[in-house]
């Protein structure tokens, strides 16, 4: 069994820790060794946030280094680009089209990089692009963007949908379960519905 290294990158407050916990629960149910590393504290406040999840027979380091990620789940375009070097050649990137402008851009000290999606497609073999915010709003709340993204990734990991849904249930507040389940499904079905067109 090869290790699977998953990085979740985004902006503080986008819910990457919840996403990583769900992956962890599924992997635990399936008897994998797991190490996850997350960010608490200062960089939570709208900063760039990275969460690593590593699954395998035996995992040592909880962090993922440059060139080591099998999958990067990017909740925001600029963050996808920022962490691209962490993806190993041949790895898969799932990117949310959402843009969150960092303060240097907001105050006019810097420009938000243009054509990020095109750049990703040019430089990577396997990119899935999704407007997860729209899907989340359809599912009932902008807060479930993270679970939409999780659903996309789940569709190509070797675990059952039922296990995923159980793990989502364990990790979200009960009042939000329906929205989260809907969000997960819209992500989970996304690639098969869209077919090859988004896999450039």
């Amino acid at each position: 069994m090869n290790n699977i290294n998953i990085m979740i990158v985004g902006v503080g407050g986008q819910g990457s820790i919840l996403a990583s916990k769900v992956i962890g629960s599924v992997a635990l149910q399936n008897s994998f060794d797991i190490k996850m590393s997350e960010v608490h504290g200062m960089s939570q406040r709208g900063g760039s946030v990275v969460t690593s999840v590593k699954l395998g027979e035996k995992v040592h380091a909880p962090i993922i280094d440059r060139g080591e990620a099998d999958i990067i789940l990017a909740f925001e375009q600029l963050e996808a680009l920022r962490w691209i070097e962490h993806l190993q050649p041949g790895g898969k990137m799932v990117v949310n089209t959402q843009k969150i402008e960092p303060v240097p851009v907001i105050i006019g000290d810097a420009e938000y990089t243009e054509n990020v999606l095109e750049m990703l497609k040019e430089n990577l073999q396997d990119v899935v692009v999704i407007n997860a915010l729209e899907k989340a709003l359809q599912a009932g709340s902008k807060k479930v963007v993270n679970v939409v993204m999780l659903g996309v990734m789940a569709s190509f990991l070797p675990f059952d949908r039922a296990d995923w849904l159980q793990a989502v249930k364990e990790n979200v507040p009960r009042d939000y379960l329906n929205k989260n389940t809907a969000a997960f499904d819209s992500g989970f079905n996304y690639v098969s519905q869209k077919g090859a067109e988004i896999n450039c």
Binding site: K21, D33, I34, R45, G47, S48, E79, Q88
Partner: protein, 581 residues
């Protein structure tokens, strides 16, 4: 049962299983969750202390009285608690005492990168260092055993990647430990010179025994593999080194102080090349070299920052990774920012407008040092803002003093700002101190503190009245203001800094992330009224976006705090609807 646990959660679990009945702490990233998880166990009395010194003194009292006690803090917290730490090494304990300290290599959320292992050595206290959550649990339990066997406090060193990583833990039952009998023993517990002299001898004898223990305990062991290469490591660096040297023999140090001399000699004898992989200081390396052994260490690895498997491979072994080169090298940075709705935003807008010299402090409000406000001149340590403002005045005289203000959060003020304020009053200074009271300890993730009116368990308690407190120490000029009333705040601040008496301004508005603070609706720009004057941009709200030809509101970020309306002279910002919930 097998569970995925955060390192900090596993520390709490270990304390629970070890039969701990008392826990005290002051929050600090990355250590905070230890005590938050402990607070979930009804069997354990737990508390947030006003600062780390108080937390440790309380814990020593509890241990001397016979209870197994745990005390937790971040690395710089141990500086604050250093005074009781050093002398508790002399008095020893009665019930076990474990002090958990979390370092922050890479400065994810800290003001420095100090290496706590030096404290173990300086205070002559044994220190353990877990490598994952399972060891967080087991080593805390072992820590209590060692503490009681050797009559010493025990330090457990965590680091950000241990505290904030999740891995699999097999939990066990709680051990029933009876609180030991307390016996008065002034030779042991009253550290006057005559007794201290005798206790110092005891400390040295204990250290000798611990040195022997270090080579015999199962906490330290050699994992023999290929004998060409031997690696000495501990903590998170051990995990990185295992990935970087998959075939080497390892000396894994669970007890990092005192150092196991017999084991290192054994490893050095057998392997061709000896490496030491440690984050931050060459702590083991210097001890290995002092034994006359040859070892490769900090000549190849940095003393600054975090290590990683790749970094170790690159500098010590073969690195076969292929890297996708980033197609863009000037990606705009994403520094942390004050949240939308943050009450500090109003305060720093005004401080910037008034162009004051601001001695700052540590908390969410330290972000006021960054653009757009850039309204902070110093940030040294908790409480430093108040005393430094006083220092500025004494050095530079009234001219600069009239343009200087110390700015500090509520939790930080109680931690150690109050003593600085007493210094100002007592020594007839005229400084102005602004307390940013957002009703919570924000920076570390919303902990209650003595000014919030709730305990760590969420029980209502009395709360420090900051206004009365300031008055009680002798401040005659105390103003209370809402930091979102920009004009009023501006007037008060300009008046108070010039006053020839010490003054305190309490800027009161709860943190936007507190549940009771749910603002309703979000803002919208009325394009018919907006003249694109861009004044609203000056408050640096991440939800206000400059589109180059117009201003828009980011619906996903705006919380509807409406501070921006204070900036708009054209009534172009309006509150509408909800936030897409």
């Amino acid at each position: 049962m097998k569970q995925l646990m955060l390192g900090n959660e596993a520390v709490a679990r270990g304390a629970y299983e070890a039969g701990v009945t008392v826990a005290s702490a002051y929050p600090g990233t990355p250590s905070t969750e230890v005590t938050e998880y402990i607070a979930e166990y009804d069997e354990i009395y737990s508390e947030w202390a006003p600062n780390e010194k108080v937390a440790l003194e309380m814990a020593v009292g509890s241990a001397v009285a016979g209870a197994r006690t745990i005390c937790t803090m971040k690395h710089v917290g141990l500086n604050v608690a250093a005074d009781p730490l050093f002398t508790s090494s002399y008095t020893g304990i009665n019930g076990g005492l474990v002090i958990v300290v979390a370092d922050d290599p890479g400065l994810h959320s800290s003001q420095n990168e100090q290496d706590s292992r030096h404290y173990a050595r300086a205070a002559k206290i044994p220190m353990l260092s877990p490598v994952d959550s399972a060891e967080c649990r087991s080593m805390v339990k072992e820590g209590f055993r060692i503490s009681e066997e050797f009559d010493t406090p025990v330090l457990v060193r965590l680091s950000t990647r241990i505290s904030h990583s999740r891995s699999v833990v097999e939990t066990g039952e709680r051990k029933k430990v009876r609180v030991k009998e307390y016996e008065k023993d002034f030779q042991k517990y009253v550290m006057m010179p005559a007794m201290g002299r005798k206790r110092h001898v005891v400390v040295e004898e204990r250290l000798d025994e611990l040195r022997g223990f270090s080579s015999s305990t199962e906490l330290n062991y050699i994992d023999w593999q290929n004998r060409n290469t031997g690696v000495v490591s501990s903590g998170i660096a051990y995990q990185y080194a295992r990935e970087a040297f998959p075939e080497a023999s390892f000396l894994k140090l669970g007890l990092v102080f005192p150092f196991p001399e017999a084991l290192i000699k054994e490893l050095a004898r057998e392997v061709k090349k000896l490496y030491v992989v440690e984050e931050l200081e060459p702590f083991f390396e210097n001890q290995i070299k002092a034994l006359g052994l040859e070892v490769i260490g900090k000549d190849r690895l940095p003393v600054t920052g975090e290590l990683s498997p790749g970094l170790i491979r690159e500098n010590m072994n073969q690195d076969e990774r292929e890297i996708i080169e980033s197609p863009q090298d000037d990606i705009p940075a994403r520094p942390p920012v004050m949240c939308p709705g943050c009450p500090h935003r109003g305060a720093f807008y005004v401080l910037d407008q008034l162009d004051l010299t601001v001695t700052g402090d540590i908390g969410c409000y330290t972000l006021g040092a960054l653009p757009p406000a850039e309204a902070m001149d110093t940030c040294l340590c908790m409480g430093g803002s108040v005393s430094m403002a006083h220092g500025v005045e004494q050095a530079a005289g009234p001219d600069l003093a009239d343009k200087t203000i110390g700015v500090i959060g509520d939790s930080t003020f109680i931690h150690s700002g109050i003593t600085g304020l007493i210094d100002i009053v007592y020594n007839q200074g005229t400084s102005t101190v602004m307390i940013l009271d957002n009703s919570i300890t924000g920076m570390t993730g919303h902990q209650e503190n003595p000014a919030t009116g709730y305990t760590i368990k969420g029980e209502p308690t009395s709360s420090v009245d900051l206004k009365k407190l300031a008055e009680a120490v002798g401040i005659k000029r105390v103003s209370v203001v809402d930091p979102f009333e920009l004009e009023e705040l501006r007037q008060i601040v300009s008046r108070e800094v010039k006053a020839d008496e010490a003054s305190v301004i309490i800027a009161q508005r709860p943190c936007a992330l507190l549940e009771e603070m749910e603002y309703s609706g979000i803002m919208k720009v009325d394009f018919d009224r907006c003249t694109y004057c861009r004044r609203c941009m000056e408050i640096g709200c991440p939800a206000i976006v400059d589109r180059g030809d117009r201003i828009t509101i980011n619906r996903a970020l705006c919380v509807g705090c409406a501070l921006c309306t204070e900036m708009c002279s054209f009534d172009a910002l309006k509150k509408v609807g909800d936030s897409g919930e």
